[in-house]
Amino acid sequence: MIQQMSEQLQIKGVNDGLLISLGSLTYAEFLNQLNKTLPEKQAFFQGSRVAIDVGPMKLNGRHIAEISTTLTQYGVELWSILSDHEDTREAARKMDLGTRLGGSQTDLDGKPLQTRHKTQTAVNPSLQEDLIIKETIRSGKSIYADGSIVIIGDVNPGAELIAGGDVIVWGRLRGLVHAGAKGDQAAIICALVLNPTQLRIADKIAIAPDEKQTAVIPEQATITKGQIVAEPWQPKSISKTS
């Protein structure tokens, strides 16, 4: 979805909401454009959240507050300012705004989170977190997490877990699991009983061997030499993957 507001001002739909790029507009021109376009397209903007890419422009807190107020008047939430200029990013951070796409980029201490997934683009911030679920995941259930998934319980055939990070099943894994779904080759899958319908790590797919495992042997699957390999879990195998 791309909507041309003017020659330079561009609106794009991203997973998080809308992204407005200033292009080569000056701050004053941009504000002008915004004031003109918002009332015209109020239905389009109403209730949305907006990230603004100001490029190399240097903005201070007052500028950002002005943009935010203008947007709020038309029911639009400003949640992120993207800029190449460190001062602008600093000003945005001080106002509790994001400085990148992909939701909040800081951890509890206010330090930027290290992004493990280089391919990560805009994602729904509600899916950013790790998930811990304490129940049996039955057929037909699908669980997504941007981070890692921990299941305390069984994962039955017909259920699927899809995680950006690792997947740990404290129970019997008999369904489908995709770890490192955004391309992380280092993601691991481990389970008390690893008996999946199918395993996927990053872009690799593996099918479990036909013989059924009945004994409880914790196993861990990783990508080793370009393919998914499952091995009995041993304390030393941790260092191999970390």
Binding site: T136, R138, S139, G140, K141, D154, N156, P157, G158, R174
Partner: protein, 268 residues
């Protein structure tokens, strides 16, 4: 005593929901309970046939819901048991003729009638008909066969029952063939429970008498022959529904002790 609404469901079709509804309702009625069986499979009614009451139908569930008759008029009295009734499904309509709130309404009226048990025969599937059947339930019994596809569907349905906060569901495993299980050619009761992880309330052996009873319109639970394993299995389920702790029939009894011991070791 208050009324208990039990819904019999399965996900997959053809696993024996209707047969079990008819037999459980019969077995409970034989314990002098006031029981009404409701066929919620609108458009594909069968329960009346299995209970042998097809020719007595005048009004059905949809007639009650749409106000064409009083509830009592749609309750067909069984020809053998004094306090067993059937509310048949409409054959000429479909699932959209009934809503979950309609089912609540009908069941609440039946509670006022002083019924002990309302047994609802759910249609197969996970759509509207299933929702209709599950909404008024106090308890849910899931029926499965010892085959992988039926177990898979049962797993799905158990998850949906939990999501509707009607769980934990109880399980009936129908059509067990002990000889095939012994040969390792059929999922055993343990295999099924291993996947579904719910409490079991009945194990029903594969038995021709069940099919014969259904075709004749005389549920096998009503047959006078005692000790017949299928008939006994249904009576036991009724006892367990009543809260009695009844041991399961040993379906491996025909094999020798030695076979069972070796079977035990090969399983572990």
């Amino acid at each position: 005593m208050s009324t208990t609404v039990i819904t019999i469901t399965s996900g997959k079709g053809g696993v024996g929901k209707t047969t079990i509804t008819a037999n459980l309702a019969s077995a409970l009625a034989m314990q002098n309970k006031k029981v009404v069986a409701i066929d919620a499979d609108i458009g594909l009614r069968n329960l009346d046939v299995v209970m042998g009451l097809e020719n007595r139908i005048v009004y059905d569930l949809v007639d009650v819901i749409e106000g064409r008759c009083r509830l009592r008029q749609a309750m067909i009295k069984d020809k053998r048991q004094a306090e067993l009734y059937l509310i048949p499904a409409a054959q000429t309509r479909d699932k959209t003729a009934v809503s979950p709130s309609d089912m609540m309404l009908v069941c609440n009226q039946l509670r006022d009638e002083g019924m002990d048990y309302i047994i609802i025969d759910s249609p197969a599937g996970i759509e509207r008909g299933f929702k209709n059947a599950i909404t008024p339930a106090d308890r849910v019994i899931v029926v499965t066969n010892p085959e992988v596809s039926a177990v898979r569907d049962a797993d799905r349905i158990i998850g949906m029952i939990e999501a509707e906060e009607k769980g934990p569901a109880k399980l009936i495993i129908n059509r067990i063939k002990p000889a095939m299980v012994d040969r390792g050619e059929m999922l055993s009761v343990d295999d099924v429970i291993d996947i579904l992880a719910v409490d079991i309330i009945g194990i029903i052996p594969e038995d021709e008498s069940i099919l014969i009873g259904s075709n004749r319109g005389t549920p096998v639970a009503m047959s006078s022959v005692n000790g017949q394993s299928a008939s006994q299995a249904f009576k036991n389920i009724a006892q367990r529904v009543e809260g009695h702790n009844i041991p399961f029939i040993d379906l491996t009894a025909k094999t020798s002790l030695l076979d069972r011991v070796s079977g035990f070791f090969s399983r572990s």
